[in-house]
């Protein structure tokens, strides 16, 4: 997932907000000594959530909240990336991989008192499949379109892909069968995505008829996604209040939860965009944990008695070459630029300990990683020579980077940008710097306006397609890449039901991608998360999918 942050208008707002937060961070904490049961647990994230209904979201901050409130059919094991049962106790796939049967847990209650049963699950899938109008925009149903394709009636304006979802049937009280049109390696991982959190039938009825209004690209989401009260899941926490001015969402423990009850009575997620302000808030005792710890803060925080667990590596940072740019369409230029970048230095001096130079668009912790991809050495002289050969010795190029943001795969975007810029200039390239605030940055890079840009990805689930398939399965403006051979191979491999053949296929694909060189994979690095000393932290997840119900006061 990109972890798109909420749609904030201008850098100005962010600046004002961070100044205000810095001011409050300096204030004396009014918290008493020792954590009491009744005291709320406050966790700071880098951004506010976008919608109370995770189906409409594609960003990590929204999913962090929704994972506490809603549950999905399948989940990842606590602290790992293996798929385990969620609401489904067991599950099964048909031979051809198109029919998925889920046996649901018994005695599961929604927050509003409804019972979880097969009909409730199908009501959710049927609602998603039958959505119309602006819901079909890829901005508002990103993950549905990625996993299940289009809708019952595809709207021409938004042109979603052909539907892959066929039907959802309630076999009996607790057995659900979901049919898809063809096998794909998107399943079963897709059933674990937080976007497909199951909601109660009562809340689904209340949502009916609520439409997304406003312009494309700047939609006004319906009321149920903005005001708590309608949405109800089965998770360990219920959502009580969302204060959008403060960027603060309050959740309460759900007493009738079917599993182990949450360790905290009240949990608050608070948005603090500035990295330093987050650390200061933790040090001052205003918050009890925060995500995206700067690499340099890890050791000092640990020395000061904070818990700073490090997640396993499951992400990738890359430098993209947008091939609509005339020079970048030339493979030799892309190779030259790749030789110019000193990736080892970025890993050694900027990324957290445990980071590694990436040899391909795929972290080595995931099946499908190939040991045989071609190596790209750092060699500035060779880079300059190759540029001259390609006739681009005085290449001038725009290079974009995001401001006021840190991502799990990219702790200090500006520093990484500066290092790469210097490397490119050493090779004789003239770089024109362009910076955008995060939400705008995603728009600009997505629509192909940046020839060179930095971006990355944290895996959603344990499958190679979630990495290379996300980028290189269809022609798109973010890469300006149009390689039929690669796309066909991707399609062929991802629809092969045989696990072993598929893994071998992904290895070949990784080798192919590195030969095409649509961008330069830079690194995979482990992001850290911090908690105050009086907390038993939850298991940290390589997928950044922590379950905060596991945490408690010491």
């Amino acid at each position: 997932m990109f972890m798109k942050s909420s749609r904030k208008p201008l850098g100005l707002v962010a600046v004002a907000a961070s100044l205000a937060l810095m001011a409050t961070a300096c204030a004396e904490s009014d918290r008493g000594d020792g954590g009491g049961e009744e005291q709320p647990f406050v966790f700071a994230a880098a951004g506010d959530i976008a919608s109370l209904d995770p189906f409409l979201a594609s960003d990590g901050e929204t999913f962090r909240y929704s994972r506490q409130v809603f549950e999905t059919l399948l989940e990842h094991e606590s602290g790992g990336s293996e798929i385990v049962g969620g609401l489904a106790e067991t599950w099964d796939q048909s031979e051809d991989g198109t029919r998925w049967t889920f046996n649901l847990h018994d005695n599961v209650k929604f927050h509003d008192g409804d019972d979880l049963n097969a009909d409730a699950v199908c009501a959710n899938f049927d609602r998603w499949f039958n959505l119309t109008g602006a819901y079909q925009s890829s901005n508002n149903s990103y993950y549905w379109q990625k996993i299940f394709g289009g809708f019952a009636e595809n709207d021409e304006d938004h042109a979603p892909p052909e539907p892959r979802f066929v039907s959802c049937d309630a076999e009996d009280e607790l057995t659900v069968t979901i049919e898809v049109s063809e096998y794909s390696s998107l399943y079963p991982g897709g059933f674990s995505l937080a976007a497909f959190g199951i909601m109660s039938p009562t809340s689904l009825e209340a949502m009916e008829g609520q439409e997304i209004t406003g312009e494309e690209g700047n939609p006004t989401l319906p009321e149920y996604t903005q005001v708590p009260g309608t949405v109800a899941g089965t998770g360990p926490f219920t959502v009580e209040e969302w204060n959008q001015d403060q960027g603060e969402i309050t959740m309460e423990r759900f007493e009738d939860y079917w599993g182990d009850p949450a360790g905290f009575e009240t949990m608050i997620l608070r948005a603090i965009p500035d990295e330093n302000a987050r650390r200061q808030a933790l040090e001052a005792g205003d918050i009890h944990g925060y995500d995206l710890v700067a690499p340099a803060d890890v050791a000092p925080l640990q020395e000061a008695g904070f818990e700073v667990p490090t997640r396993d590596v499951f992400n990738l940072l890359y430098l993209a070459y947008q091939q609509d740019h005339e020079a970048l369409a030339d493979l030799e230029v892309r190779e030259a630029l790749s030789h110019a970048v000193n990736r080892q230095r970025i890993v050694d001096t900027i990324l957290p300990e445990g980071g590694e130079v990436a040899s391909q668009f795929h972290p080595d912790t995931l099946d499908g990683w190939s040991p045989d991809v071609r190596e790209i050495e750092y060699d500035p002289e060779l880079a300059a020579e190759m540029l001259a050969e390609a006739g681009h010795e005085d290449l001038e190029i725009e290079f974009c980077y995001p401001t006021e943001v840190t991502r799990p795969y990219m702790p200090a975007p500006k520093d990484i940008f500066d290092v790469i810029t210097e490397d490119l200039q050493e090779a004789g390239v003239t770089v024109e710097a362009k910076s955008y605030e995060w939400a705008e940055y995603i728009n600009q890079t997505d629509s192909g306006n940046c020839p060179l840009y930095l971006l990355g990805w944290t895996g959603d689930y344990n499958d190679a397609y979630n990495f290379i398939g996300t980028w290189f399965s269809t022609p798109n403006s973010a890469w300006g890449l149009d390689d039929e051979e690669l796309f066909d191979k991707m399609e062929e491999v991802s629809t092969n039901p045989d696990q072993e053949e598929r893994t071998a296929g992904y290895q070949e694909l990784n080798e192919m991608v590195m030969d095409v060189l649509p961008g330069l994979p830079i690194s995979s690095s482990p992001p850290s998360i911090a908690f105050s000393g009086d907390i038993n932290p939850p298991n940290v997840s390589p997928l950044t999918q922590e379950n905060f119900a596991e945490a408690s006061w010491k």
Binding site: L10, G11, L12, V15, E275, N276, A294, P295, A296, A299, P300, N342, R345, D348, T349, I350, L351, P352, E353, T403, E404, P411, A412, K414, D415, D418, V419, T421, E422, Q425, E432, A433, K434, S435
Partner: protein, 341 residues
């Protein structure tokens, strides 16, 4: 000699009463006071020697000398920075020696007099080249404020003096707009402009310049009105000289004195404002080219492990702004007949 003059509390507009009036009125009063100064000359028999006399007085003022030395040093460093800087300010030649991810930095040493920054660039070279950027921004911003302010204020002043009833109406409208701008804190105005135009070095110059317009406009207009009542203007009118000519060749040149003094003071605020805008990320997006405000904002992240990265640019900004302020204030005092013996 009035080297450290005490303000006269009975006189509105001088420092003694400033605390009691609202901020923008205080600012306006100060500007008006400066505008009056030139109008008063001649009455006490000093005539054209005012600049020479002011220079004499400043030579004996330690405040003025300190200011002048700082400003001179700063300008020299800025002008000759490419010759002074030992290395390229953007070269990350020592990039493998600093580890911001582990809080390992390199302090001052023989090779690098002020140490290395977080990307392994020579801090001393960056400071020296940064001085040039700072001076450039300050001067251009002041020029923008000066030019637009002079046009607006000059029009208003000329209309008020020579334009009759219609002219006074024009003056009224222009000045009310200027008053509105003056009521807005300069930094807020500059941030608004910069946020609207988008971040770049040009933006900073324009934004800071725009924020200075009302001060220059009000100053020039005040000075022109005070000139307008003088006999030579009456004489020129009686001789039938055209109004435009009176305004441009008679009144305007005689009113420029206070505006020039203000320019020195404005340079100081412009440098601080420009640094503030860069600090807030509204400056040059390519921060590899050094600018003190941007350097300060980048160093903030490393404040606990490498405070010197922030201290150098901060000192640079403080000392430079102090130099211009001391010089400007000394000039203002030297020119103020009320403070003369």
């Amino acid at each position: 000699m009035p080297t450290t003059p005490s303000p006269n509390p009975a006189e509105p507009g001088t420092t003694g009463t400033e605390e009691k009036v609202p901020f923008h009125q205080r600012k306006a009063a100060k500007v008006d006071r400066l505008a009056e100064l030139m109008g008063d000359r001649g009455d006490d028999g000093h005539g054209a020697g005012i600049w020479r006399e002011a220079f004499q007085r400043m030579r004996r003022s330690p405040m003025a000398i300190t200011g002048a030395v700082i400003v001179a040093l700063f300008v020299l460093i800025a002008l000759f920075s490419p010759l002074i800087a030992p290395y390229s300010p953007t070269s990350q030649a020592w990039g493998n020696e600093v580890f911001p991810n582990r809080n390992e930095f390199v302090g001052p040493r023989g090779e690098n007099w002020m140490g290395l920054d977080h990307l392994g660039r020579d801090m001393f070279s960056r400071m020296v080249i940064g001085a040039r950027q700072t001076l450039l921004v300050g001067v251009v911003a002041t020029l923008v404020g000066f030019l637009f302010g002079a046009v607006l204020g000059g029009t208003a002043g000329a209309c008020s003096v020579l334009g009759g009833r219609w002219g006074r109406q024009v003056d009224n409208v222009v000045m009310r707009i200027i008053d509105m701008m003056l009521a807005m804190p300069t930094l807020l105005l500059a941030v608004t402009v910069a946020a609207l135009v988008g971040p770049s070095l040009t933006t900073v110059m324009i934004a800071v310049g725009i924020a200075q317009i009302p001060i220059f406009a009000r100053l020039l207009r005040g000075a022109m009105i005070s000139q307008g009542n003088r006999e030579y203007v009456l004489a020129a009118q009686a001789l039938g000289v055209r109004k435009r000519k009176i305004a441009l060749t008679h009144i305007l040149p005689n009113s420029m004195g206070p505006v020039i003094v203000q320019s020195t003071l404005t340079l100081a605020t412009a440098i601080i404002d420009a640094a503030a805008l860069s600090y807030l990320g509204l400056g040059n997006p390519d921060a590899s080219f050094p600018e003190w405000g941007t350097m300060l904002s980048e160093a903030q992240r490393f404040l606990s492990s490498a405070p010197s990265l922030a201290v150098y640019p901060a000192l640079g900004i403080i000392i430079t702004a102090l130099g211009f302020t001391l010089l400007g204030e000394a000039l203002r005092e030297a020119l103020d007949p009320k403070l003369r013996k």
